[in-house]
């Protein structure tokens, strides 16, 4: 029964987000700005789920998840840069920043990115392989807890510095921008942005379903067992490192897919997205929404970013203080986040109603035993 309600709720929200909202946008009721903004939030929600799959479900607090998100974005960005063709400022067949650096021809590794399927493959492959190598080394050496967190943070910081360099030929500190076409569609058209929004919604739905399935399998049980008692898992014959590696790679790929849809909607990708504070922010979304749940990260990502959009306009100087304050508040008073608060409230209200004395109308209440002061004389006429 509970499963059915959940399925129904997910279906309703999915239809609302993926079908109704775009329809309202097409008929002019919802603005293009809103659709674009929410498209960005949905890709953030995908990132947040990937953080939670590691942190909430496996006990691995990654402080570098934005690295994979941004790499996915960069891989998509390379395709988008190729699609600019000679429409750039210099009207050359190669991206503007390469012309600026003195290149006349395309570097070899840029060549295959004119193919969309290749770019899409790289969105999955590059972050996936990086996670595989890094995770293999880290988990084999039994790097745990805060050491793992520091290492992931160092990894994203290192990558950030690398991408800032012009001679990586990835656009330096400006990154990629000024995109024109995606699959022959003009990115500036509302219809294209709407399709991107819908795609992000579908990606989020698929991510949710995948994680939902994964966490229900025996794998998911082992995952949470590692979080709660890694030693017991080892002494029960599971190679915990392999399980952690699988989750780490899976969540890197999820984050990368989110990043790939983020880039064309925001219209820019640059190394600042890999900076350590971005990954920390993603952790805050999960904490605020409710870690260890799948709805929590989605709620957290959308809530915190909506708040950010408002606060950075209304109180631009105070945003970081608000963010930090919110994190403290959640850590101290709401360990289960917004989702936990809502379900606790639900439980509290249910409890309240249960103990409220009602005059027992015994003919209509089959559950009369649970009511206070039952009157057996009336029950057995």
């Amino acid at each position: 029964m509970k499963r059915k309600t959940e399925l129904l709720a997910v279906a309703i929200v999915a239809i609302l987000v993926i079908v109704i909202l775009p329809l309202l946008n097409a008929s002019g009721i919802v603005s293009n700005f809103t659709i674009n903004l929410y498209g960005k939030y949905l890709s953030y929600a995908v990132l947040a789920i990937s953080v939670d799959l590691l942190w909430g479900y496996t006990g691995l607090l990654s402080l570098g998840q934005c690295l994979f998100f941004t790499l996915g974005g960069y891989m998509m960005g390379m395709y988008l840069m190729r699609m600019i063709g000679n429409l750039g400022q210099y009207h050359m067949a190669i991206p503007d920043f390469l012309v600026f650096l003195g290149w006349n021809t395309l570097p070899t590794f840029w060549k295959p990115f004119a193919s969309f399927p290749f770019a899409l493959m790289m969105v999955v492959l590059l972050p996936g392989l990086l996670a595989l190598v890094f995770g293999f080394l880290a988990f084999r050496s039994r790097i745990r807890g805060v050491y793992f967190s520091i290492l992931t943070q160092a990894l994203t910081y290192g990558a950030c510095l690398l991408f800032f360099r012009n001679n990586l030929l990835m656009g330096g500190n400006n990154g990629f921008t000024d995109f024109k076409l995606l699959l022959q569609q003009d990115l500036r058209l509302p219809a294209t942005q709407r399709m991107l929004y819908i795609s992000t919604g579908i990606l989020l739905l698929l991510t949710y379903c995948f994680c939902r399935w994964l966490t229900k399998t025996k794998f998911g049980k082992v995952q949470r067992a590692i979080r709660d008692s890694e030693n017991r898992v080892l002494f029960s014959g599971y190679a915990a490192a392999n399980f952690k590696l699988f989750v780490f790679v899976a969540s890197a790929i999820i984050a990368a897919l989110g990043g790939a849809l983020y880039t064309p909607q925001v219209g820019i990708i640059n190394p600042s997205e890999m900076a350590t504070d971005k990954s920390l922010e993603a952790v805050v979304w999960v904490a605020v929404g409710g870690r260890g749940t799948l709805v929590g990260p989605i709620v957290g990502a959308i809530f915190v970013n909506t708040l950010k959009s408002w606060a950075t306009r209304a109180y631009p100087d105070y945003w970081l203080i608000i963010l930090g304050g919110m994190f403290l508040l959640v850590v101290l008073f709401l360990p289960k986040g917004i989702v936990g608060l809502i379900s606790d409230c639900g439980g509290w209200i249910a409890e309240k109603f249960k103990t409220t004395p009602v005059v027992p109308d015994l003919k209509q209440t089959p559950d009369a035993d649970s009511l206070p002061n039952p009157q057996p004389a009336i029950r057995n006429p």
């Binding site: 025996k218 979080r227 709660d228 599971y238």
Partner: protein, 252 residues
């Protein structure tokens, strides 16, 4: 020829200059129920750590089973897969999982990542889990979270997890801690019923419990074996009395 299930020879382990285990030689027959006693810091738990791969000895060999597999070269899960199960001193269960799931995760069977993705609980497994929970007296708690159990019940659950594993060698570290006298007696009965089919090493402080289960007792002192024999032999051994009672005398 006799088959030893476990042979430890010349085992040494030092922590920061403290000799936890020194020149330990330990032999155990297949199907034996061995009780290991000794004062605090005698190296009992360290010995289990060395057997199960939690730490590596500085010197010496520990061999297991008929193939005499060298354990000191293997890691925790490889040793587990040979058929060695362990119950920790403080009950170590998965607090956020139900009692059922705790047993399920400990059931013998595949341990691979990909098989875990598509594993299904078979009716046979379900039945076996119910049987095990009945044996350890947790049948009513099957859907309760392990974290909500009382200390003694957690001990039982961990013993149940060992049963599910169906290990050849069971290492049981202070099973009676936190149990009532009645529960302790029940634990003793269970361990006795398992001996023969399984080889068991029990580490224990509670002498009443030791008397109940022990056939052969090994006394550890300062990381080495002080004496071995029946409970009466051990209790009448002068050196044992010195180590246990002599010191006690000083404190009083």
């Amino acid at each position: 020829m006799k088959n030893f299930i476990l042979t430890a020879e010349g085992v040494n382990k030092t922590f920061d200059g403290f000799k936890a285990i020194s020149d330990l030689n330990f032999y155990m027959d297949e199907g034996e129920l061995r009780t290991v006693i000794g004062p605090n810091g005698a190296g009992k738990t360290t010995f289990l750590d060395l057997i199960t791969g939690r730490s590596k000895p500085d010197a010496g060999t520990i061999q297991f089973g008929r193939e005499s597999t060298e354990l000191t070269k293997l890691n925790e899960y490889q040793i587990y897969r040979l058929g060695i199960g362990r119950k920790f001193q403080t009950p170590t269960v998965y607090v956020d999982h139900t009692v059922f799931e705790n047993i399920l995760l400990s059931m013998e069977g595949s341990r691979g990542v990909f098989s875990a993705l598509f594993a299904r609980v078979t009716p046979a497994q379900r039945e076996r889990i119910h049987d095990i929970l009945k044996t350890v007296g947790l049948g009513e708690k099957i859907d309760a979270k392990a974290g909500s159990l009382a200390h003694g019940q957690k001990q039982w659950l961990e013993i149940g997890m060992l049963l599910a594993q169906n290990a050849k060698l069971l290492l049981v570290d202070e099973p009676a801690a936190g149990m009532t006298d009645e529960e302790t007696a029940k634990t003793g009965e269970l361990l006795l019923s398992l001996a023969g089919r399984h080889s068991i090493i029990v580490i224990e402080h509670d002498m009443v419990f030791v008397r109940q289960i022990a056939k052969k007792v090994t006394v550890l002192h300062q990381g080495t074996i002080l004496c071995e024999g029946s409970v009466d032999e051990v209790q009448n051994n002068e050196r044992v009395i010195e180590v246990y009672l002599g010191r006690k005398h000083h404190h009083n």
